[in-house]
Symmetry: C2
Subunit: 249 residues, 2 copies
């Protein structure tokens, strides 16, 4: 009836918000959507902008950023594909969003999307569930920021990235290999550290052979279980024992 739409090519049409919709509803939503393809480091919206659009991330990673008065940035969240942004009760955004990698997204003007939501409770349900998941992730992050030392934070970050990497077919090995789409400074802004500290912890992880770094963005994790153990250490000093881990007092 509609012929081929861009939805048919979409990587995430069986995930994300569209997973909740049947073909008809998706075609209807398509009417009010606008496709955007962004290179890395482009602004999607700014802190203080009118929150007049919703966004469905179909490819890539988006940074949610607060800029402090002294110019420092803090990344309060990452939205990976398939993701959704724009749920807020405020009239204006309280943080900025920019593409961390190349990003593809569908944007929806607020008013017609809200109207569509009213007639499609299954979509609202889906967005609700995605929001609940984000809240869980955010709460876990407060634990990392509040209670972990720099070594554990960096390990935790790499672990999160590794777990989000699509597994190769029939992948069973513990080895993960991926390219980091972030600078040391960006990771620092996310981890509540400085870029120097992040770099030092990379060096430490490398020295202990928990990761290998063919180049600075090229991460090989020989054994993800090992990395996971490092990320969960709860006594900071034990991270500094070479080899044996000390019992916790």
């Amino acid at each position: 009836m509609h012929g081929i739409t861009r939805c048919d090519m979409c990587q995430v049409r069986r995930e994300g918000i569209c997973a909740a919709l049947d073909d008809d509803a998706r075609a209807q939503l398509l009417q009010i959507s606008r496709r955007r393809v962004l290179a890395a480091h482009n602004v999607i919206f700014r802190d203080g902008d009118e929150a007049d659009h919703y966004f469905s991330i179909t490819s890539g990673i988006v940074k949610l950023v607060k800029t402090l008065a002294d110019g420092h940035q803090h990344i309060i969240g990452l939205v990976h594909q398939p993701g959704f942004m724009g749920q807020t009760l405020n009239r204006r955004h309280t943080y900025a969003a920019e593409s961390a990698t190349g990003v593809e997204l569908c944007s929806y003007p607020r008013a017609p999307f809200d109207a569509f939501l009213k007639t499609h409770p299954e979509l609202e349900r889906q967005i609700f569930e995605m929001t609940v998941r984000e809240l869980d992730v955010c709460r876990d992050w407060t634990l990392l920021l509040g209670r972990k030392c720099s070594y554990e934070r960096v390990a935790g970050f790499l672990l999160m990235m590794a777990r989000r990497m699509p597994k190769a077919e029939g992948q069973v090995s513990n080895t993960v290999h991926f390219e980091l789409p972030f600078t040391r400074a960006e990771m620092a802004d996310y981890l509540g550290l400085t870029l120097e500290t992040v770099s030092r912890q990379f060096s430490r992880l490398k020295k202990k052979r928990i990761i290998a770094l063919p180049s600075s963005r090229d991460i090989i994790i020989p054994d993800i279980e090992l990395l996971s153990a490092v990320a969960q250490i709860e006594s900071c000093s034990s991270a500094f024992d070479e080899g044996q881990s000390r019992a916790i007092a």
Copy 2:
């Protein structure tokens, strides 16, 4: 038809989840709800428990707590009245909930509540909005934990508490007076600090006359704007200049 129900006495029936419901629907929901009244420091659910109930907090404050392997606790969130808990996609809770103050709540078994939700999208919408708000709060908290020094964190915490205090009738002054329902250790667990550091920052705030402490739990904030300024400082060292604040380089 039903005569007087306990909902008629409820402080928050015009807020929280019940605000979304008309009298009939509320009466219906009442059928599956169970009222619980808890003193401070009682467990509502434990980390790892089956997530088989939802909870609507009608009075008091609930702590969401993760216990680490070394016995330390971290408070990942507070739920104030009117609040809602239990939205999770996991079969089991990933943190514990316990009353921080005296708490009154309505609990709803998961299955019938979910069924009720299906027929009352306005309630789902309400819970969704409350979840979005919590996500916003949680993201702001990551900024505090990731980028603020102990002085700012304690100020930020007091500011949050002060803002949640119900204003007296026609209150226009900048003065706020309330009783803290937390020990220094609990605040430390929330702020990612130690109880000693929290205590030191209380002393500092007191010495600078930003707060007054008739007793250790009795907080008087003479000028909330002043406290707000302290909480938003973005250069840590400037917090230590007595009197003048240094320009940020």
